[in-house]
Amino acid sequence: MAYISLDHVVKRYQMGEVTITAVNDISFEIQKGEFVIIVGPSGAGKTTVLNILGGMDACDEGTILVDGKEISRCSSRQLTSYRRYDIGFVFQFYNLIQNLTALENVELAAQICKDPLPAREVLVHVGLGERLNNFPAQLSGGEQQRVAIARALAKNPKLLLCDEPTGALDYVTGKAILKLLQDTCRHQGMTVVVITHNTAIAPMADKVIHVKNGRVDRVVLNQHPTPVEEIEW
């Protein structure tokens, strides 16, 4: 039994009179501790998959199982709990609370979890041990994203979901962030799902799911994922 499985998931949006099928019969599985990249062009439905997987949206058909829990059947409140306890989210634009220091931002997430990791340690772990008490505005983009990752990790989630984590970052910083994510997966056994339109970074994943027009185009398993450092784009 896979750790995460999506089985014939369909999601439609009603836009006025038009029904748009954003996700059309998608099925795939993710094993615990895998580093998965979902890749596809704009509008392929990868964000929808992320939303559904992240418990931000419900699917119309199909079943989603995460660690034996059927997410597709959850109520709105159960979904919130799911987000709260099982998901760590990394946004493209970091979405830090401007009014809180780096440490406080992490604490903000940590305080609502059952079994959080110590905030300070997590920040040290992501390399921000020196900037604990800085406000987001005082941090660079890469640093902010590290805080965001720390915030997600501090929750000690089952699944780390990252939405274009490097989208707003320059090449070097982006690489560093990806490295952080990969390391986290490798060293802590964290299941990481990254969503990106950048196919170039696909080799670093254990599993690459290509999405196209709302369907899974193909799933590529890398027996030997490439370390980030070796990837160029």
């Binding site: 949206d57 709260r84 306890y85 989210f89 946004f91 009014n99 609502i112 929750k155």
Partner: protein, 1194 residues
């Protein structure tokens, strides 16, 4: 180019869509603008509307511009002279007097005014206008409070002073109720009657007055109606007129004094002349009387003579008349005698004739009888011959008839004969019948024989027939034999030729004849003859009697004739005497007529004299009184003086102006605060909007749109929202607010329709201010944003730096706070602008609510404090003027004996004027024995610390408001103007709210005024709610010594009504403040959510439950509300303090305190709004899309 023309302006599309998508923000701005303009313009326009409404009303009712009052009244000449003055449009004389009227046992003091249709027109509310001098109009309050109704009759007592005979009658019928423009408000002025306070006014037609001079002249001035009466233009115009009229008035007044003196002199002369005339007339009439009396004496003498002669004549006449009557009697008797005699004679003659007739008849009867008897005798002889009966003559027959035996024989004979005749008749009939039968049989036989002859003899028929013939022949033969026998019998027994008819005739001849018949007839004839003989004897006897009577009658006749002669002589004598008497009588009658004529003449003369005398005396008394009055007037009032009084001397007019000014004051700052709060929120909303759209603006700018073109969207948005709101608010503000407030004031002021003015300046300013604030805010925000380069704009605006707040420096405190609160506090203090805006917004609204409720508290606390806490007596009883000891004893007994009365004291009370250097005010002076007595009835205390105040023997205690008005403190001196002007030392100041009082002890009164206070009122305390209270009040009022009884409870209600009008304004403010508070809170929360959408969405993604998320916002809102409310309480208290002084009127002191309940209400309302708004936010957050968090930063 062509293509461009057809493309709609996308900027416009964007703007319209913006409005559509942010409806709630758009409407918030609109409603805020509307509320701000409505409240500002509405309240500001109320004062001019109030004044204009009344100005129009007064113009319509032609309220006088000037009133001229003269100390000696005004004459028609005065009025004419006034009319002739420049600027005077109309001058009319009028009467104003005081009177008391009693309805249902309660005396009220009234002003009685004359009215006309030219000036000071009354406004009829009910019923009709008076049609004659006996009808009156009353004010509606009179009907309401006294319980009188239309059609009732009231009696006006005008007292014994100047107005004693001012009215043509005392009773008047109420035909209608009306308002008078002379009395706008509830104040009715003062009077010298009753308790000194005038309760009502009553309007009478001019001809109900009969005063020598007018008391007032009312003037309409040229060009005055065109001006607004409360404007300075009007004031200046009238002041100009007064200045111009002043010399003229002095001149007229002097003239009046002079003419009055002339009149007095003239009057005295006239009075003397009249007295002389009256004396002359009296002498004349006395002469006439004497003459007449002599004439009467003469007449009486002659009359006595005549009377005795007349009496003699009367006796003679009586005697003669008796004689005549006697003769008449005798004559009548004679005539009766003669008539009787004649009747007897006639009767006798008739008797003789009758007897002769009877004799003759009897003779004839006898003859007939005899003839019958002859015939009978012959018949008897014939019949009886066989028996030897033979009567040779009638006498023998008569002798036998008398004998019964013989007569039986005769009767038997007659009977036998009749039987024989009957038998004969039967026999003859039998023969005839048989003869007929024989004839018939013969005929038949003949016929049969003939038939036989025709038949063959051998034939059987022949044998039969012949047999029959044989039989028939045998029968016939038998019958014929019988017939022959019978015929033989006839021939033997009957005379020949006798037939049935002849026998029948004989039989009928014998019918009725018998012996008895003849005998009785004979006896009757004999009796007749006996009767005739007796009649003859009677007649002879009567004849003899008649002859004797004749003799007697002849003798009486002779006597009668002699008497008649005697009478004729007596009559002659009487006639002579009568003629003599007639002469005497005529003489007397003439004399009498003469005398009576004289008497009538005298009576007429005397009557004339009497009337003239009465008239003259009345006239003289009048003249005397007038003279005395004039003299007194001159002495007392000195030379005549005229006063020119303008409208500012009318209490109602002035107090209305003051109330309107007060509304104006209320409108000056109060709505401004309101407006500022609304404007502040609008401004923030617009600024936030522009800032939110930073990226879009950057994009537009990058596209190459000019600053102006970009700004127009936001400016247009703000302009549209605020302009529409402002116009709607203006519309409502200019109508609804004046309507509510004027309607409220109408409770205590009587005026006509409400005038809704526009007040262009205020309206335009309010609108411009509202629209300007919003539009300029938009413009300002736009331009500060637009100055940045597009690239900078396209990037997310670096959010304000997260900062450590002051609180964090206090380590232990900060550490002890939960994480959520740390965030909240940091959020709060990071956005200082938002913090202050929200706190000020909520605070402003809370302050408005506190103020509004506090205003209400202050106004209504007055009632409770004044009537429940300060006044300890429940009723004030007014005593009659100069109450006698007897009357007072009655009152005292009634009070002592009633089980209901708890306490009472007699006091002296009067209305005085209290003056200081700075101010003058009317106040009630209460004089009681000493402080301990006063304490039992009035709770004297300091307002601030409730320390009791005691009335000292020296010095006065004045009420707080009076001290404020006069600006005096303890130890200062004030002037009291009552019966005389005195200076009194203020010993203390006491808490008091309604009207002004000055309390002093009797001793101090005596010291100041030099006279003992007259106890003219009684303060009484009893349980007014007791069922017996009404009975007690009635019994007290009915006492002779008691003039009126005023229940504090009633006064309280009257005040309560007038305070109601303020309550409406307050309710209006509460509603507006509450509405503003709600909109402000809603808008602020809305902004708070909108601008933190992304942050909230992120939190949601992080797994915050709905409740936690809402709480994240609530915490901020709650803290803001708490701060805001706190500020509001403080601001409210300040605003209330200031406002209460502004709206207070002279007569009242409002409580300075705001009840805790009002703070509580303000807190509750604000909190409730906050909760409602938070609830709305909660739902909004629930719907918040998490995808928001994924979007790029705008």
């Amino acid at each position: 180019m062509r293509k461009k023309k057809h493309t709609p302006n996308r900027l416009l599309t964007d703007t319209l869509r913006e409005i559509k998508n942010t409806r709630s923000r758009f409407f918030s701005i609109m409603i805020l603008s509307a509320l701000a303009v409505c409240f500002l313009a509405g309240l500001r326009v109320t004062e001019p509307d109030m004044k204009n409404s009344v100005d129009r009303y007064l113009d319509d009712q032609k309220l006088m511009d000037l009133r001229v009052v003269s100390t000696l009244g005004l004459t028609d000449e005065d009025l004419e002279a006034i009319s002739g003055q420049e600027g005077v449009e109309l001058a009319q004389g009028a009467y104003t007097i005081d009177a008391t009227v009693e309805v249902a046992g309660n005396d009220s003091t009234v002003k009685v005014l004359s009215y006309t249709q030219d000036i000071n027109l009354p406004v009829l509310l009910e019923g009709r206008m008076p049609e004659n001098a006996g009808e009156c109009l009353v004010e509606p309050r009179f009907l309401l409070e006294t319980g009188a109704a239309l059609g009732d009759t009231i009696t006006l007592y005008t007292g014994t002073g100047d107005y004693e005979d001012a009215l043509i009658q005392e009773t008047f019928t109420i035909v209608g109720s009306a308002n008078s423009p002379l009395y706008l408000g509830v104040e009715r002025g003062s009077s010298t009657l009753g308790t000194g306070k005038v309760n009502y006014f009553i309007l009478l037609p001019m001809d109900a007055f009969q005063m020598e001079t007018y008391t007032d002249a009312y003037l309409l001035m040229e060009g005055a109606a065109e001006l607004m009466t409360y404007d300075t233009d009007y004031e200046e115009l009238i002041e100009g007129y007064i200045d111009a009229l002043e010399p003229f008035a002095d001149e007229r007044a002097a003239l009046r004094s002079e003419s009055l003196r002339d009149e007095i002199a003239e009057g005295e002369q006239e009075l003397a002349d009249a007295r002389q005339k009256l004396a002359d007339a009296q002498a004349e009439i006395e002469d006439a009387r004497r003459e007449l009396d002599d004439g009467w004496a003469d007449y009486q003498e002659g009359k006595a003579d005549y009377d005795s002669g007349y009496r003699e004549y009367q006796d003679g006449l009586k005697e003669y008349q008796d004689g005549v009557a006697e003769i008449e009697d005798a004559r009548r008797q004679m005539e009766d005698g003669w008539a009787q005699y004649q009747d007897g004679l006639d009767e006798y003659t008739q008797g003789v004739y009758d007897l002769d007739d009877a004799a003759r008849q009897l003779q004839a009867q006898q003859d007939t009888f005899m003839a019958g008897l002859d015939q009978f005798r012959v018949t008897l002889n014939q019949l009886g011959a066989s028996q030897g009966l033979n009567y040779p003559d009638n006498d023998s027959l008569l002798a036998d008839l008398a004998d019964p035996d013989k007569s039986a024989v005769i009767d038997g004979l007659l009977e036998g004969t009749r039987k024989d005749l009957e038998n004969g008749i039967a026999l003859l009939n039998q023969v005839a019948d048989l003869q007929k039968s024989v004839d018939a049989q013969t005929g038949e036989l003949d016929a049969k024989q003939a038939a036989l002859a025709a038949l063959e003899p051998d034939s059987p028929e022949y044998a039969v027939l012949s047999q029959e013939i044989t039989e028939l022949g045998t029968a016939l033969a038998a019958d014929q034999t019988t017939l022959a026998f019978l015929q033989g019998l006839v021939q033997s027994s009957l005379p020949a030729g006798a037939t049935v008819e002849s026998l029948q005739a004989q039989k009928s001849q014998l019918e009725g004849l018998s012996a008895g018949f003849f005998y009785s007839s004979y006896q009757a004839i004999l009796g007749g003859w006996d009767q005739i003989m007796a009649g003859q004897a009677q007649l002879e006897k009567a004849k003899k009697q008649l002859d004797a009577a004749y003799e007697v009658l002849e003798e009486g006749q002779a006597q009668l004739r002699a008497g008649e002669w005697e009478l004729i002589f007596a009559q002659e004598d009487l006639k002579e005497a009568e003629a003599e008497l007639e002469d005497g009588r005529r003489e007397l009658a003439d004399g009498l007529a003469e005398l009576e004529d004289g008497e009538a003449e005298y009576a007429d003369g005397y009557q004339e004299y009497l009337t003239e005398k009465a008239d003259a005396e009345e006239e003289m008394a009048d003249a005397q009184k007038k003279l005395e009055q004039a003299q007194r007037d001159l002495e007392e009032k000195g030379d005549c003086e005229w006063y020119l009084l303008d409208r500012d001397t009318n209490i109602g007019f002035v107090s209305y102006s003051m109330d309107a000014d007060r509304m104006g004051n209320l409108a000056s700052v109060f709505p401004l605060i309101f407006f500022l709060v609304a404007a502040l929120v609008c401004l923030t909303t617009m600024t936030r909007m522009v800032e939110d759209q930073r990226v879009a603006i950057g994009g537009m700018k990058a596209l190459g749109y000019s600053k102006g073109a970009i700004a127009i969207k936001y400016v247009g948005y703000g302009f549209l929202a605020s302009a529409v709101g402002a116009l709607v608010g203006l519309g409502i503000g200019l109508t609804l607010l004046p309507w509510i407030i004027c309607t409220a004031w109408k409770i205590i002021y009587n005026f006509g329709d409400i005038y809704y003015g526009v007040e262009p300046l205020t309206s335009i300013t309010a609108c411009l201010a509202a629209v300007g604030t919003v539009t300029l805010a938009a413009l300002g925000a736009c331009f500060s944003t637009l100055t940045a380069v597009p690239a900078q704009l396209m990037r997310p605006k670096s959010p304000p730096m997260g900062k450590r707040i002051l609180l964090e420096r206090i380590g232990p405190l900060w550490q002890s706070l939960s994480f959520n609160y740390k965030i909240t506090l940091r959020n709060l203090f990071r956005y200082k602008k938002r913090f202050w805006m929200t706190v000020v917004g909520i605070g402003g609204c809370a302050a408005l609510i506190v103020t509004a409720f506090g205003l209400r508290d202050s106004i209504f606390a007055v009632m409770d404090k004044q009537y429940d806490e300060i006044y300890r007596y429940t009723s004030l009883m007014g005593l009659v003027d100069r109450v006698t000891p007897g009357e007072w004893a009655e009152v005292e007994d009634a009070l002592e004996e009633s089980p209901l009365v708890e306490d009472w004291t007699r006091e002296h009370t009067e209305t005085i004027t209290a003056e200081s250097d700075s101010y003058t005010a009317d106040a009630t002076l209460d004089v009681v024995e000493d402080g301990s007595v006063l304490e039992r009835f009035v709770n004297l205390r300091h307002r601030t610390d409730s320390d009791p105040v005691t009335l000292p023997q020296e010095g006065v205690i004045i009420t707080e408001k009076l001290s404020l008005l006069l600006d005096v403190e303890v130890g200062d001196t004030i002037t009291l103007d009552g019966d005389s002007r005195v200076e009194a030392v203020v010993a203390d100041i006491t808490e008091h709210y309604i009207q002004h009082n000055v309390y002093m002890s009797s001793a101090y009164y005596e010291e100041l005024f030099g006279q003992e206070p007259e106890g003219n009122a009684v303060m009484v305390r009893y349980d007014v709610d007791d069922p017996q209270a009404a009975a007690l009040e009635q019994s007290l009022v009915s006492l002779d010594g008691v003039n009126s009884l005023t229940r504090m409870e009633d006064t309280r209600q009257t005040f309560g009504t007038s305070l109601k009008s303020v309550d409406y304004a307050v309710a209006l403010i509460i509603v507006c403040a509450a509405a503003l508070a709600f909109v402000v809170l809603y808008n602020l929360t809305n902004i708070n959510i909108t601008e933190r959408m992304r942050e909230l969405a992120t939190l949601k993604v992080l797994g915050f439950y709905d409740g936690e998320l809402s709480a994240y916002i609530y915490r901020e809102n709650v803290i803001l509300t708490v701060f805001g409310v706190g500020l509001g309480m403080f601001l409210g208290k300040l605003l209330h303090q200031w406002l209460i002084l502004t709206v207070e009127i002279d007569l009242l002191m409002f409580s300075r305190e705001v009840e805790p309940a009002s703070y509580l209400w303000a807190i509750l309302l604000t909190t409730a709004f906050s909760l409602v708004v938070n609830l709305a936010a909660h739902f909004k957050l629930k719907k918040l899309d998490m995808v928001e968090s994924l979007k790029t930063v705008e």
